[in-house]
Symmetry: C2
Subunit: 211 residues, 2 copies
Amino acid sequence: MTTGAKSALSRDAVLDAAAGLVKRHGPGALTMRGLAAELGTAVTSIYWHVGGREALLDALVERTVADLGEIRPSGRTPERRVVSVALGLRRRLRDRPHLVALVHERGLTERMFLPAQRALVREAHAAGLRGARAAEFVRAVQFQVVGHVLVERNRERAPAQHPGEEELWGAETAGDDPALARALACPPDTEQLFLTAVGALVRSLLSAPGA
Amino acid sequence: MTTGAKSALSRDAVLDAAAGLVKRHGPGALTMRGLAAELGTAVTSIYWHVGGREALLDALVERTVADLGEIRPSGRTPERRVVSVALGLRRRLRDRPHLVALVHERGLTERMFLPAQRALVREAHAAGLRGARAAEFVRAVQFQVVGHVLVERNRERAPAQHPGEEELWGAETAGDDPALARALACPPDTEQLFLTAVGALVRSLLSAPGA
DNA sequence: ACCTGAACACCGTTCAAGT
DNA sequence: ACCTGAACACCGTTCAAGT
C-alpha cells in the first residue's frame, strides 16, 4: 500500500534511495539531480514529496537516529554494564559512519545518545548515584563515547597525517623511553583505547565521594 | 616585502582573507568567487596564487594547526598539570570553532593535538608511567579532550534539539529522582563537565596498577 | 494529487589571451 | 610572472504547465 512494486514515487522511496547514496558514497554524493537520476524521475518530483535538500537531510537524520534502536546493558557490576552500553552504542555508530557524520554536521550529535541515556540513568542509580551527580555521570559518559567515535572515525578517513605522530616520535624525541616512542609512532588500537578510557572514567566517577 | 600596502595580491593575502571569511561566517561562506570579490580581483587570480579550493582549504588547515602554539602546563601535581594542558587546548580550540570544524572535516583532527602531546608525555613520565602504558594514557586524554570539544561545539550550534533531553526528562520519566530529571532537562555546564570528566579519567589512569 | 521541462542564480575550474 | 574574461559543467530551487 505504501511502496508500490514498480514506479509510484513515494516519500519513503526517496528517503531509501537517499540513505543508500549517503551510505555508499558519503553525504557529498547526495545531490538532488543525482538522486532523481537514481530514482528515474524528474528532479522536481523530489521537491513535491520531501521538500528541498535541507528537508531531505533532516528526514535522513531523523531516520538514522530512530534506527539506532534500544541498547540493553549486560554484565554483573554497574561498571561492566555501563561499559557494555558504551560498546553497544559505539558499534551502532561505527556501522553508519557517513550517516553519523551527517547527524553531526547537522548539530544533532547529542540525540544519537538518547537511546543509551535511559539505560545509563538506571545504572547510575544502581551504583548509588543520585540527582545532579547522576546527571553529571550520564553526561560525562555521553560526551566521552560520542566524542571518541567522532575522533576515531576521523582518523580512519585520513590516510596520511603528513607530519603526524609517526615521524614526530622517531625514537629519539622521547628522551629515554623507546617503548613509548614506538607506541606513539604507530596508529592506536582504537577499540582497546575506547575500553580503557571508558572503563577508567566510569570507575573513577562511580567511586568518587561527593565533589 | 611580502604583503604590499595596496594591491599586490599574494598568497598570504589570499589566505588572510579566506581565514577571515571562515572565522566570521563559517566554511560554507568560503566560495572562490566571494573570496575574489572580497579581494577585489578576478577569481582566476586565486588559482594562480594558491591553487583550487582544496589547496586553499589545505593551506588554511595547516595555518590553523600552526597557530595553536605551545601549551605550558601549570600546577603542582601531575594530575593538575595534565588537566591544565587539557583546559588550555580546549580554550584554543573553542576560540576558532569554524576553523576547528574545517580541520575536523578534512581529517586532521589528531594533528590539533600534537602541540599538547609532548607536554603530556612529560607528565606521564613524572607520574611514573612508561612505555605502552604512558602512550595509552596520552592517547586516552587526547581522544577525550578533542572529542569533548567536538561534541560541545556541536551542541552550541544546534538551537533546538527537537524532542531532545528537555522534554524527555519531564520529571516523571526519571522514576523517583526529580533532581536528576531537572538536571538532565537543562543544558549542561560544559566547562564543569569537561573538568569533571578529564579529572576523573586522569586520576583513574594515573593511579591504576598495570592492566 | 502528482509529475514535468525550462529557467534562474549560483558554484568550481579550465584555458586562451592579455600585459 | 601575474592577471583577466569567457566558457564549461555542474549545483539547488522556482514556477508555470501539464495530466
